[in-house]
Every structure is written in structure tokens, then in C-alpha cells.
Amino acid sequence: MSTLSSKVQEVFDEPACGKNQAKGEKERKKGCTKQLQPGAAAGGCAFDGAKIALQPITDVAHLVHGPIACEGNSWDNRGAKSSGSRLYRTGFTTDINELDVVYGGEKRLFRSVKEIVDKYDPPAIFVYQTCVTALIGDDIEAVCKAATQKFGKPVIPVNAPGFVGNKNLGNKLAGEALLDYVIGTAEPETTTPYDINIIGEYNLAGELWQVKPLLDEMGVRILSCISGDAKYQEVAYSHRAKAAMMVCSKAMINIARKMDERYQIPFFEGSFYGISDMSDSLRNIAKLLVEKGAPADLLSRTEAIIRREETAFWQAMEPYRDRLKGVKVLLITGGVKSWSVVSALQEVGMEIVGTSVKKSTLEDKQKIKELMGEDAHMIDDMTPREMYKMLKDAQAEIMLSGGRSQFIALKAKMPWLDINQERHHAYAGYSGMVTLVQEIDKALHNPMWEQVRKPAPWDKPVGAAPSPRLAAHRALEGAPTVCPLAA
């Protein structure tokens, strides 16, 4: 555990993180996560975060060393898509029993690795530590080292047991595993001046593929995406990229920063959500590559693509502008998505009445302030009851959030859209933003709302004339009669 706790300290002490650097020595030691409140917490654990970050690597076996809960309750539940291998969607776990807890689970882990090698022969195996096996002292680093030697293929320990912290910490510990054991262990067949890494993009619902055609058109090659639709080899030779884009806010900042230090791969932080963010990202990719020696015409070609795509986007938006102008949106989600989606929705005229910043960094919050003004309604820790009230009182007309809070909106008979990792629609790039706007429009204007908000025949109707959208809802349910839409 001493190596793990020093790793955690190291991850907490992130020089590229402004928030961390602004803290005093003592504060920094405490790490970047708020102490969880028993009885009032709801997020995923570090193991969850590590799995989210690495599971998109498609051709490796992801083996969870622990009791059945960690994998049995959660496998194959994320929407990262693959263009090739499906092995990443296979659930592997040591499913330890009582005897393993008493005698130690290392032998079972080693035998499990052997069984996977025999049956599935993947290019590598990632072994995830969990709370129970960490507590009983199973040394997964040692087992992985022995297994790597014995089977002649990389067996990589991912030491992020759930109880060390939250998902974000798990993301970073997963990044450390890649830095320690994977990145720089192979060489690509060829390199070009146009090779980039995309770090922190998980290809949820295939979003990477919404962006890749444009990069292809620019002549930019994604040498490695960490970790969406990645193959093990691609991650292993990612150190030969010329530049990198860090997508998921701070989740994998340690990878980006350390690859810059070790391999001189400059990076920028960007997002594929929203039109201006998307355009900026393409520009920055081109700029960094040119700075690293790519021919300068990349810049003008990129600008031409941006112009074409933006024009096409605004044309596609025309039918929606009037329909969505001023629509009040409540956005409940984690770090990166808050500000990048905020800017995207504002671009089409919607009004963000509140956004959660529970998982956001100081910089994220700063960005939201820039976007929404000083009086931005940032919600640190909104209870479900408060969300429900906000929707029921129509302070917001639609909620965008993750699946877990979906039913808070639906039970208030208000539209909801999934923007989390289980979502089925891809929202990246220019085409993704069109999809997002279409989905919001579809959700808001479904004629179903009027039907479900009608009282049952045995409840006394107020006798209001049918009116569109919320007006009907409010009148029929006896809510305050001032309609913010009419104002």
C-alpha cells in the first residue's frame, strides 16, 4: 500500500493543475477530493473511474481482482464503441470467495491470468485492484510482474481500489498505469508530421468517429486515442506523436503532462462539444503540428474545413432557432461536460438556468463564469428533491443529466436528455451538435407531454384551455400561473 499511497500523493500533486498549485502544502496533501459525507454521497469510486478510463481499450482483457460486486454488478454497461475487437466487453473477474479472503487471492489471480491467456490470448491483460483484495494485502504488482514473465505478454496492474477516492482519482491512477507500463513500450511502423494523440476521449456512442473524418480530411492521423477505440499497441507507441489534445478536462491531465515532459509532446486542452470549441480544437491541433514541423498549409486547409462545417451547421440550425430560443435548461453533469455543453447550448439560443459543478475543477468553474456571467447558477451539491422542485416549478424546461437522475425529471413530467456515458446518441463535433439540438427539440416538443400532464378523469380538472407545452402543464397541475415562457 505504500506504493499506492505515494502514487495517490503524486497524482494529487499535479503541477499542470492550477487549482492544486494554488493550494498550500498542507491542503495539497489532503488531495483534490472533498471528504465524502456518509449517508449523502452518490458517486462512483476510484475503481469505477479507472475502469471508465481504460475499458475503451478494445483488444485487451480487463480482469477485475475482487469479489463479484465490482464486476458482476457493473460489466458491459458503458457505451464506448469499438471498430474492431469486442474483447473489452467481456467481463473477467476473479470473483474471490471466503477462502481467498482468508488465505489471500494472489494464486487465484495468477491462475486467472493463465486461463485468459489460454482461452482468449489478448495482446495484454489489465488487472484491476479492488477494496477487499487491497485490504487483505494481495500484491497485484508482484503477481502481474510474475505473470508478464511467465506468459510473455504484458500483464498490467491498475492499482485503484475503490476506497482510495472518487472516480476522478481513479481516472488519474489509470493514467499512471499506462505511463508506468504501457506508453513507450512499442514503436509504430511509420510516423508522419501529422501524428497526434487524443487523450481522455472514450468514444462513447462512437463520438470519436464524428470527429475523425474531419481529421482525416485535414490529413491528421490519430496515432493513438487514449483510450476510445484504442488497440493496446496504439497506446504502447503513442509516445511518437507530435502533439496531443487533452479532451476530458482534468481526468487524464497527468498523461498529457508527463508525455510532454518525457517525450516532448506538447498538448492543449480542448473539447469536441460545441461549435466554437470544436473549431478551436481543430485549429489548435493544426497549430501545434505546424509548430512541431508540419507544413504550414495545414493551417489554411483547416480554416477552410472549419468555415465549411460552421456554415453547414448554422444552416442546419435554422429550423431550430425559433423553436429553442430561450428554452431554460438545467444541466446536471460532471466536470468537462458542464462548460463545453453550456457554450454549445448557448450558441443555439438556449438559456442555462443552472449547472452542477460538483465534479468540476476550479478552471471548469472559471470557464462557466466566463460563459454564464458572474451570477452563474452553479450548483455544488443539488439534492434530487431540489432538482425535482426546480423542474416541477418550471424554473427549467428540460434537464440534461446522467441516467441516474433521469427519473427525477420524468416523474416531474418534464423532458430529459441523457448526456452521460450510457447515452445512445453521439454529440461530438459539428454533426453531433446538430444531433444534440435535434434531440432536445424532439424531447421538448413531443406531443406526449400534453397527454401525460392531463389529470386523470377522476381528478377534478381546472378547466383550462389547452395551451402549448408548459402552459398546459402548469394550468392543469395548479402550479403558479405566471408562465416564464410567456414573459
Binding site: 475482487g66 460489466w75 458491459d76 479472503v101 477494496c131
Partner: protein, 455 residues
């Protein structure tokens, strides 16, 4: 009679099993105004929560004691205390149901002891019911956690009392959907009896749209009902894994019980009808006489399609028992059977072999089967083996209506038989001119294949 085999391998691949603590948590969800809470790291709760949300398509109340590295080693007393106080303050439930996890069991937290101390320290919690159940993740499966929770609920909350005429306890196993429970309630009430169903997911997880937001469960067995289960005339335990809870209730309050292993299939339903008729002193209502006749007719119509078919089933023991016997009883062969945990039912199953294993084991044995029945995680193997796939059990995250699937009672059994027979009909092979041609002798056939390939 089946041979029960515990699969000998180190690595579970594509788990069929889920953990006991979330089984306990779901049982707590069948209590009204309750907050199920896992004593473990926050991830234990988060995974369970996501799983139930995706299955029921409902907001799911579930909390955590949010253990971390340090509190685990120092012991979780403070966390349990704070969790109880916080939940009491924020959600004001009538009941907090706490289940332990692998983490806190490995440490050896004495939560029963903690609760005694907390009770002494906080007299303001007097009205709050606290039920703690020990469910280490590394022992047993989902249905074991459920069974332990129900037994503990009864042990803690049932009170002996003068018998209330016509009141019946129904202990509902984890294999029953809210729709199933609703069906049982209707049947019992049709005999003029008053059922107390425990746990009652039909009240809390049935997909209703309440008028107000509640942070705890809304609907389900109430605390008052739980207390008077001890005054019921008798108990019906639905599913073998409800036997312990029924026994506890009998020992504590003297309520006699009857275990009905399954209510899926003609025999199970007939037994229920006879029992209810006997206990209520009333004949079976006409409605059920008609339904029985419809089920018999469905069996007659469907046996053509189900007879001789090979079925692969992956399910927890009590669900497996019901559907396995139903289809074996219609002439199908249970060709591949995998379950999650030990049960006295397993060796009585009409199959050659029952494995306690995972979906990899089921996939290995399902080649050549005509139908796969398991929970949604069977989707990958169904695709690989190109098998018709009936989703049953938890989780069912890639279809709607999991809560309303009814597969028991005469009517539910009838519909299940039709559904499966229709799946077989849809797969029926269209005859072709060469279907009955005798293959030429081995050598000649190979020769002709080669000559075709050469052209």
C-alpha cells in the same frame, strides 16, 4: 435429477451472478419509506444504483456509508453513525436498511453492536426502524442477500400478536417482478384474504408517477404491516429462498407457513389455489377456473412447438426452478443450465447437469440450443451463437417493461408459454427440396464438394 457442479476455474468470465449486498438492498426497496444503505465504499452503492435504475427505469433510493481506506482500517462506527444521522435528517425515512459489503466484512465491523451504541447515543432516533443484515460480497449471490435481508426484517420487526382473521403473509422471492407480485395480490384477495406482501416491490418499483418527489421508497410494505405480520394466520413463502424468513416468523410469532417453490406452471398454480381455498374456506373464483382452462389450452396448442426443443437457461436458482420445470414439463430439454449459488432445488431439476458458474460456461454448452433464457447480459452470447433470446431476471437493461413482466399464475404462465412458442414458430425452418435427400456416401460427397470448389 441433476448433477450439481461447481465450475472449477479461477476466473469468472461474463458473470451471471450479482452480489448479495445489492440483493439485500433491493429487498429493502420493497419496504415503504425506506432508505437502503450499503456499508461500504461509495462505489458499492453507485454500481448497484446504476444497475437498478437501468433495470427498473425508476429513481432508486440507495445510500452509502462512504467508507475509505482510513475509516475501513479504523472501523466504520463513525461512518455508520453519520450515515444514519444524515439520512434521518435529509430523507426522514421510517426504516433504514443497512447491508454490509465485502470491504467492511473483511475488516469485521460489528454493525449490530454499532447500532446498539447509536441507539443509546441518539434517543431522537427512537421512531426510526434500523435493520442490519450481514452480506459479504464474497459469499453467495443476489438471491442470498435478498433472502438474508427478508429474514432479518422479519426477525427485527415482526411482533407476535392475537391472530387477525383472514390476514396472510406473502414472502416474495427476488425472482418475482412487481407485476408478478401484483398478480399474487389479486389472487389472494380474490379469496377474501388480506395479504401482507414482503418485500412489496409492486408498490415501490412498479413505475408509477407520484405527485411529489420522495427521496426514499414510495410504496411497499409499511412498518405497521411489518409489525403485524406476526399476527397473520399463515405465511406463504414464494420461492425456496424464502423458507428461512418464513421459519423465523414461525419461530418468533408462531405463524405457520407453506413454501411454494414456484407459481409458474399448472402444478404450482393449482397448489396455490387449493391452499387458498382451504385457508379461506372459499372455492376458487370462476375467474381462475376460466384462466386454468385457458392455460391448459395454451399448453395443448404450444406443446407442438416447445416439445423436443433444447433450451439454455442462466438464472438464479428460484427463477431457474420455475421456468426450467415449466419448459421441461412441456417436453423441452434443459440442455444447458447455469445458476449462481447453491440451493436444495438444484439437484431436483429435470436436467442432466446444473452448473454453478457464469455465462462463459453457459455459452460453452449452448451450441445447438434453440433458445437462450437469461438476463440482459446474455445479449452478447445470443448474438455470437445466433440464438433466439428471452430476457428474464435482473438486470434487464436493454428492454422496457422489466417490472411488468408477469410469468406466474395461470394467466402469466399462459402468456409465457405463448411468448416462447411464438419465438420457436418465428424460427421455424422453411422446408427445401434437399432437406430429405440422403447424403451420398462420405467419400463421394467430399469428392463432389471438391469438384464444386474447383470450378
Amino acid at each position: 435429477m441433476a448433477t450439481v457442479t461447481h465450475v472449477k476455474k479461477s476466473c469468472a468470465v461474463n458473470p451471471l451472478k450479482m452480489s448479495a449486498p445489492i440483493g439485500a438492498a433491493l429487498a429493502f426497496m420493497g419496504l415503504n419509506n425506506c432508505m437502503p444503505t450499503l456499508h461500504g465504499s461509495q462505489g458499492c452503492t453507485a454500481f448497484g444504483l446504476v444497475l437498478f435504475v437501468r433495470h427498473f427505469k425508476e429513481a432508486v433510493p440507495m445510500q452509502t456509508t462512504a467508507m475509505n481506506e482510513a475509516t475501513t482500517i479504523m472501523g466504520g462506527m463513525d461512518n455508520v453513525e453519520q450515515a444514519i444521522l444524515n439520512i434521518h435528517k435529509r430523507a426522514q425515512p421510517a426504516i433504514i436498511g443497512i447491508a454490509s459489503t465485502g470491504l467492511t466484512e473483511t475488516k469485521g465491523d460489528d454493525v449490530d453492536g454499532y447500532i446498539d451504541l447509536i441507539r443509546k447515543r441518539h434517543p431522537e432516533l427512537e421512531e426510526l426502524a434500523l435493520v442490519y443484515v450481514s452480506t459479504p460480497d464474497y459469499v453467495g449471490a443476489f438471491q442470498d442477500g435478498w433472502a438474508k435481508a427478508v429474514a432479518k426484517i422479519v426477525k427485527e420487526l415482526a411482533e407476535p400478536g392475537p391472530k387477525i382473521a383472514g390476514q396472510v403473509n406473502v414472502l416474495a422471492g427476488s425472482h418475482l417482478t412487481p407485476g408478478d407480485i401484483e398478480e399474487i395480490r389479486e389472487i389472494v384477495e380474490a379469496f377474501g384474504l388480506k395479504p401482507i406482501i414482503l418485500p412489496d416491490l409492486s408498490g415501490s418499483m412498479d413505475g408509477h408517477v407520484p405527485d411529489n418527489f420522495s427521496p426514499t421508497t414510495l410504496g411497499g410494505t409499511t412498518l405497521t404491516e411489518l409489525r403485524i405480520t406476526g399476527a397473520s394466520e399463515f405465511t406463504l413463502a414464494i420461492g425456496e429462498h424464502m423458507r428461512d424468513a418464513a421459519q423465523v416468523l414461525q419461530d418468533k410469532c408462531g405463524v405457520p407457513f407453506e413454501v411454494l417453490e414456484t407459481l409458474t406452471g399448472l402444478d404450482g398454480c393449482d397448489r396455490l389455489m387449493s391452499l387458498l381455498a382451504e385457508k379461506s374456506g372459499r372455492p376458487a373464483p370462476n375467474k381462475y377456473r376460466r384462466q386454468r382452462s385457458q392455460l391448459v389450452d395454451a399448453m395443448l396448442d404450444a406443446h407442438f412447438y416447445i416439445g423436443g426443443k433444447k433450451i439454455a437457461i442462466g438464472a438464479e436458482p428460484d427463477l431457474l426452478w420455475g421456468i426450467g420445470n415449466l419448459f421441461a414439463g412441456m417436453g423441452a430439454e434443459l440442455a444447458a443450465v447455469v445458476t449462481t449459488t447453491q440451493s436444495p432445488l438444484l439437484e431436483k431439476l429435470p436436467a442432466q447437469e446444473v452448473l454453478i458458474g457464469d455465462l462463459e460456461d453457459l455459452e460453452d454448452r449452448s451450441q445447438g440450443c434453440d433458445l437462450l433464457i437469461t438476463h440482459s447480459h446474455g445479449r452478447q452470447m445470443a448474438e455470437r451463437l445466433d440464438l433466439p433470446f428471452l430476457r428474464m431476471g435482473i438486470p434487464m437493461f436493454d428492454r422496457l417493461g422489466a417490472a411488468h413482466q408477469v410469468t406466474l399464475g395461470y394467466r402469466g404462465t399462459r402468456d409465457l408459454i405463448f411468448e416462447v412458442a411464438n419465438m420457436f414458430m418465428a424460427e421455424a425452418h422453411e422446408p427445401g427440396p434437399d432437406d430429405w435427400r440422403q447424403p451420398a456416401s462420405e467419400g463421394a460427397a467430399c469428392g463432389s464438394c471438391e469438384s464444386v470448389a474447383a470450378h
